[in-house]
């Protein structure tokens, strides 16, 4: 799904989420604001318990904020009914989970085709598109294998193909390498980065791993349900091992307005600016070429 120019992929304004547990209000997210533009590569990073999962569920339209304004793909989730929200997820979001979440008794191609079922696309066309997408992730030769017949890395690539088959505006990856060994994880990350660079799909990666987060051009650090920092790195080094992630706006990062764009702030202001930054800076970036080049071993079969 290609969003109209100027429409951010995701726009959160003072978003809060409070859970009711046995009658007690437990605040999970407290006033989170940021904008993610189409084609951006953003890491949402934070330790466990930082509520980054809650944030991911909100960004993916799986949950709704209790307060604040959340606009996904140009649509305010507060105005959407449950079926409309489902359609929004189908059209705008592609999920990649830590645990893959593939249907065990279903072949790779049918797993990938699943989102198209709920779009009402015919069986033949579903299979064709799913097969083509599996080709893009380098699994064109594994169409009819079941998840149990695939390695962990292959399973996650099937899951990525499933996320991608609907041509979404945002790829939401929740600890995509969490269940993989480091070499396989590296390959999966490179694949995600290549897809982000190639197709202009925004990549939002939720992780607790600073090393993984450091690969993203922009890092949003979450702690205790608040955005601690939101920084764009001019030249993030692909696979820069051992490089400490910068929190709280370290010198190498360009600080973005975080707490400044609080409630009541016109969304056009910071959103527009961020959008310009994201859109303009990405394509000429040297990192993109590097990312694709470094992906050679796995990407051979890619379209």
């Amino acid at each position: 799904m290609t969003l109209p120019v100027g429409v951010p992929a995701i726009e959160a304004v003072d978003v809060s989420r409070t859970y009711q547990l046995d009658g007690v209000s437990v605040p999970a997210l407290r006033g989170v604001s940021f904008t993610i533009d189409s084609g951006e590569y953003v890491a949402v990073v934070g330790p466990s318990g930082s509520r980054k999962s809650t944030l991911m569920h909100l960004l993916g339209g799986l949950d709704r904020p209790t307060d604040g304004r959340l606009v996904i793909g140009g649509r305010d989730v507060a105005t959407l009914s449950a079926p409309e929200l489902a359609t929004l997820r189908n059209e705008t979001i592609g999920f990649v989970f830590q645990a893959f979440h593939l249907l065990p008794r279903t072949s790779a191609v049918d797993n990938v085709a699943l989102p198209l079922v709920y779009r009402g696309i015919g069986a033949r066309q579903r299979r064709d598109r799913a097969a083509a997408t599996l080709g893009r992730v380098g699994l064109g030769h594994r169409l009819h294998h079941r998840p149990s017949q695939l390695s962990g890395g292959e399973q996650q690539r099937v899951a990525i193909a499933r996320a991608l088959v609907t041509d979404p505006a945002v790829l939401l990856a929740d600890e995509p390498t969490g269940n993989l060994d480091s070499a396989t994880g590296e390959a999966v990350l490179e694949l995600l980065e290549r897809l982000n660079a190639e197709s202009g799909v925004a990549l939002v990666m939720v992780t607790h791993d600073q090393e993984v987060a450091a690969r993203a051009r922009r890092q949003i650090a979450v702690r205790d349900g608040r955005v601690r920092s939101d920084a764009i790195h001019d030249r993030p080094l692909s696979g820069a091992v051992g490089r400490p992630a910068t929190l709280d706006g370290a010198p190498s990062a360009e600080p973005r307005s975080v707490s400044g764009s609080g409630p009541g702030h016109p969304s056009g202001g910071s959103g527009g600016a961020a959008g310009a930054t994201g859109r303009l800076s990405r394509p000429p970036s040297g990192r993109t070429a590097e990312g694709v080049g470094g992906d050679e071993p796995q990407a051979g079969g890619g379209s």
Partner: protein, 394 residues
């Protein structure tokens, strides 16, 4: 497209748990089979009884004192043979009028005895009631006029008293009085558990003398045509009421008897079906239970499907179809089993069973409805699952 996927997924889910699906279906199978079987037995019994009532003879009009209704106490009859003559005049043909006075009595022949029903009748009985003889002859007008002590035996009585001899010409004793056997009826079989061959016919005059009475219990008339049967009944009742102003009389036709019997048997069939329906209900509860298990087992799958765009309804329909599929397959199997058992019962046992299309349609419809009713709650639960919670489930 979505519906096709829902069918495919539902079938796949049943296949994935063959044993569980089969056991769940078994509940429905037993329920539907017992509904089909018991309705078939009820229907078969009803059909057989109707055949027998119609086999009594066509255009039959029964005239009895009192009201003919279920649960009405019998009335002592004020009727005598003079009334029978009056009825004959109304009908215009004495050959169409039969009477009965009946009582239980022990029939003896040598050392053997048999407790049976002795009927005092006119010579017209075989014409009015369409009875035929296996051996010998029936009573004649002369036998009745002269109170001759002759008897015609039902097949069972003949077998009981003369198992190894020809009964014709033999003597039997009824209440200590000797009668000569002149004929044996063709067997009729059983009706509603009553042996219709367990009877002895003697002239009504002889019977009245035997029991020291002038009364007759009831009059039967074979109407000349079906159209005016009710009119004839009214005229007979009017004549009898004129002669016996204190007594109420009723004239009932076979149709009315069939109606009353049909009502009784209909209620019986309904009760049987309801009892069988309880087992179908229990089967339905089993379906509901297994569907809840299925929803719980596949919580993560539900979460994933929702994440990739399934609407609550898509999920609900998927699970509802799974339940309906369970009960429909179970229903069809149960129908086959029920029909097979009914045919077997009808063939090898004396219990009649008749398959009707409506009972099959009903059984299948009910089983599918059970699927919907008992699938709705689990399906709704699945449809409403919070995707965030569902995805986290282990």
């Amino acid at each position: 497209m979505r519906l096709a996927e829902a069918w495919r997924v539902a079938l796949d889910a049943l296949r994935a748990n063959r044993m569980r699906s089969a056991l769940t279906m078994l509940g429905v199978i037993i329920g539907v089979a017992s509904v089909v079987l018991l309705v078939a037995i009820g229907t078969g019994t009803k059909q057989k009884v109707e055949q027998q009532v119609e086999g009594l003879g066509s255009n039959l009009l029964l005239v009895v004192p009192g009201k003919l209704d279920v649960g009405t106490a019998p009335v002592v009859s004020p009727l005598t043979l003079k009334d029978v003559d009056a009825v004959s005049r109304v009908v215009g043909d004495p050959g169409r009028v039969a009477v009965t006075i009946a009582s239980g009595a022990t029939a003896r022949a040598g050392a053997r005895s048999d407790f049976t029903t002795v009927q005092g009748v006119l010579e017209t009985t075989p014409t009015v009631f369409t009875r035929s003889l296996a051996r010998g002859r029936y009573l004649t007008g002369a036998d009745v006029d002269t109170s001759r002590r002759v008897a015609v035996l039902g097949a069972s009585v003949a077998r009981a008293l003369f198992p190894d001899r020809d009964p014709l010409g033999q003597q039997i004793a009824l209440a200590g009085v000797r009668f000569r056997v002149i004929g044996v009826f063709t067997p009729l079989g059983q009706s509603l558990g009553v042996d219709r061959d367990d009877e002895v016919h003697i002239p009504v005059t002889a019977a009245q003398r035997l029991w020291g009475t002038q009364r007759v219990d009831g009059i039967a008339v074979k109407a000349p045509d079906r159209e005016r049967i009710d009119q004839l009944g009214d005229r007979i009742v009017a004549e009898l009421s004129r002669r016996h102003p204190d007594t109420e009389f009723s004239a009932v036709t076979q149709q009315q008897i069939l109606g009353v019997l049909g009502d009784i048997l209909g209620v019986l069939t309904g009760v049987l079906a309801a009892i069988a329906g309880i087992s179908l209900l229990v089967g339905g509860v089993g379906v509901s239970n297994i569907m809840l298990v299925s929803v719980r087992e596949r919580t993560r799958e539900i979460g994933l499907r929702k994440a990739v765009g399934a609407r609550p309804r898509d999920i609900g329909v998927q699970f509802l179809l799974e339940a309906v599929l369970l009960t429909s397959i179970g229903g069809l199997t149960g129908m086959g089993l029920g029909v097979g058992t009914a045919l077997l019962v009808d063939t090898v046992s004396p219990i009649p069973a008749a398959i009707t299309w409506w009972s099959l349609a009903l059984a299948f419809g009910v089983s599918a409805a059970v699927g919907i009713v008992f699938g709705v709650v689990p399906a709704q639960r699945a449809g409403r699952l919070d995707p965030v919670v569902a995805l986290r489930a282990e």
